[in-house]
């Protein structure tokens, strides 16, 4: 697995890492809960036929500045800047979980600035009758199994790499969780249902069959509200972060949809 190229964009005076790899038409990627502490096999799958551009969201690995963002509007404006400055305006964009929520917001508010959209269990809804799981109230041993069908995948994804700073690395991982909390605490509810009808782009809704965070019913709610043509697909053997659990199947579903 070769490394991506790294560039930096400025968001509100803070550096934001953009990883790029592959060739072919562009596809944007906003990662899920926990961000991208390392490049992933899923992104390599996409990079076989597409130019993958993966900017970090504020506070996620590779970027700071989350603590300047006080409201959901602040976050949406930052996400728009990230998408535009990464050269993703008018392109295909995919996102998972936390990142998926911002892809959906961008597609809703700037509907003519996106081609096609793939969302993996995006955050933003909350239904009292079918509540999303509180990812921030998990015993340390339980959290990996809440996020991934195979807990070891999450543990490996977050493990300190050889040569990394053993103090700063864990702080960066907690910061990513904090950044997500800053915008989504306590329920993950941004009232996105008010804006979903503004999405005009064809939209793929992907759900891990074993997602223990976002109920499957939210896919139906989203499909019902989104104005553009929607397709729902579930990924067997995958949890909430389907791209980590099943990189090949998840990439294949997205590439087929965006071909």
């Amino acid at each position: 697995m070769s490394e991506p190229t790294t560039t930096t964009i400025d968001i509100n005076g803070h550096p934001c890492r953009v990883w790029t790899k592959g060739s072919g038409p562009k596809i944007g990627w906003l990662a899920g809960f926990g961000g991208l502490p390392r490049w992933t096999p899923f992104l390599d799958e996409l990079a076989k036929t597409r130019t993958v551009i993966a900017p970090s969201l504020p506070g996620h690995p590779g970027a700071t500045g989350h603590n300047l963002l006080d409201s959901h509007l602040d976050w949406i404006v930052a996400a728009r800047q990230i998408i535009v400055k990464s050269g993703l305006e008018g392109e295909d964009i995919a996102g998972s979980s936390v990142g998926g929520s911002f892809v959906a917001e961008f597609a809703a508010l700037w509907p003519h600035k996106v081609k096609r959209v793939a969302l993996i269990a995006p955050w933003g809804l909350f239904d009292e009758k079918d509540p999303a799981t509180d990812v921030w109230a998990q015993r340390p041993d339980d959290q990996p199994g809440v996020l991934c069908a195979d807990p070891q995948i999450w543990k490996d994804f977050k493990a300190v790499p050889a040569g990394a700073n053993s103090v700063e690395w864990p702080i960066e991982q907690i910061r990513a969780s904090e950044a997500a909390a800053r915008v989504f605490w306590p329920l993950g509810n941004t009232k996105i249902e008010k804006r979903l009808p503004l999405i005009l782009a064809p939209t793929l809704l992907l759900w891990g069959e074993q997602d223990r965070v976002m109920p499957r019913s939210y896919a139906d709610t989203m499909a019902r509200l989104i104005e553009g043509k929607t397709t729902i697909k579930t990924i067997p053997g995958a949890g909430h972060l389907a791209d980590l659990d099943q990189p090949a199947a998840t990439a294949r579903a997205i590439l087929e949809f965006m071909s």
């Binding site: 907690i174 904090e178 909390a181």
Partner: protein
């Protein structure tokens, strides 16, 4: 030194199998365990105990704020404090305190504390905790990533509300209020501010900068506390502050009896109830991201002392037997002389001038609480009071002259009720 009497107001009838059948005493403790008619008696017993403590000469009575908590029945400590303001005369009233970020607008804290200060004739100590993760982030749904920013802004708003003479507009990051103008105003220019904290370096620095009292409120006794207070004083040295022991407060569980063996016997049940049931907290509520600042995380990853003070670590090491509880220094017990010696050592070694004593804990009965309180007041307190008399306490309430204060009607508490 100042000897203060602190009540947590624990629910005293959690079942024997609480730990086995319930995941947590805090946040999602089941409502079926709460009997309001029993709580009626608990609250009245607790308030009797606090009034009794005031009457036997403790320097202050203290209460605090918790939410959805089986060992702390005071979501609003101000209600208790206002009742105490009417039933006590010279004792300071220490509300330890109001979690500033939980009040909307925070001006409410300025108002309620000003009311208590007026009713009590200027006897209020205003505690400003950030609040535990369980109270603030989980029970009250506050955002852990913004909690400290909101806390600091709320503090600025409250202080301005107390001290500015003209109506002003507050244009904060999180709070906007066009007309801030509280009625009533506190008797004290502003009540002395005390800040309960964990082992965070930022809080130490902030207390030094603002000239506030820092209180390390731990249920884990002086052995854990020593390291934290050592860090505090080293930071004060660095910042050029003097080592006035009244800058600091510390919480300690105490059980006094005629002898050490009698104390072990008398207080074992209550202590084991507290450490066994009351601190049975689900670790999933320990660490909302952002609650601990990155600077403190950095220190914590490198320092065992700060790590030991973290909520996650605290939940791991709960002793179960009285012997362990006493051996670990969580509860200081013994004859009046034993207790005096141990507390003197605690106060001197930690250089702490404000000792907050828990003389009621767990399911301790009113009778035993009063026994403990009375024995402490009569035989321990007089010996400890002269400690640190060479220092000026600049952070104690400055009430109105006694002769200028309102006379309370004749329902004042009866000493004989304790006997």
């Amino acid at each position: 030194m100042k000897l203060m009497w602190f009540h947590l107001m624990p629910y005293t009838e959690l079942p024997d199998d609480f730990k086995q059948k319930h995941p947590s005493v805090w946040v999602d403790i089941h409502s079926s365990l709460f009997d309001p008619k029993r709580a009626h008696h608990m609250y009245n017993d607790f308030m009797d105990e606090m009034e009794f403590a005031a009457e036997v000469g403790f320097d202050a009575v203290c209460c605090n704020e918790h939410h959805s908590n089986g060992y702390g029945l005071m979501p609003s400590p101000n209600l208790i404090a206002s009742a105490l303001a009417r039933r006590t005369t010279d004792t300071a009233i220490c509300v330890m305190g109001n979690s500033l970020a939980l009040y909307n607008p925070p001006t409410r804290v300025a108002e309620e504390f000003a009311m208590i200060d007026c009713i009590s004739g200027g006897r209020l100590i205003a505690g400003f905790p950030v609040g535990s993760p369980m109270d603030t982030c989980y029970a009250y749904g506050q955002n852990p990533s913004m909690l400290r920013e909101r806390y600091l802004e709320a503090h600025d708003l409250v202080m301005r509300a107390w001290t500015e003479k003209e109506t002003f507009a507050f244009n904060g990051r999180f709070n906007q209020q066009r007309y801030v103008n509280i009625w009533p105003r506190p008797i004290q220019n502003h009540p002395p501010v005390w800040v309960p904290g964990g082992g965070s370096v930022e809080t130490w620095r902030w207390c030094a900068e603002m000239d506030y009292v820092y209180c390390y409120l731990s249920y884990y006794g002086y052995k854990t506390g020593l390291g934290v207070m050592k860090g505090f004083w080293e930071e004060m040295d660095k910042l050029g502050k003097d080592r006035n022991p009244f800058r600091a407060g510390f919480l300690q569980f105490v059980g006094v009896a005629e002898s050490r063996s009698e104390a072990l016997e008398r207080y074992a049940e209550a202590a084991e109830y507290f450490y066994g049931r009351c601190l049975h907290i689900d670790p999933k509520f320990a660490q909302p991201p952002g609650y601990v600042t990155e600077a403190t995380q950095r220190v914590g990853l490198q320092s065992q002392v700060v790590k030991a003070a973290s909520y996650q670590e605290k939940f791991k090491k709960r002793p179960t037997s009285m012997q362990e509880i006493v051996d670990d220094g969580y509860v200081i017990i013994g004859s009046p002389k034993d207790v005096e010696e141990q507390l003197r050592e605690v106060a001197v070694n930690m250089n702490v001038g404000n000792l907050m004593m828990l003389l009621q804990y767990g399911n301790m009965s009113k009778e035993l609480t009063k026994y403990n309180t009375k024995l402490f007041a009569e035989q321990v307190m007089p010996k400890l009071k002269p400690l640190f008399s060479e220092w000026e306490h600049k952070w104690w309430p400055k009430p109105m002259q006694r002769s200028a204060r309102a006379e309370l009607p004749s329902f004042s508490p009866r000493v004989e009720a304790a006997e």
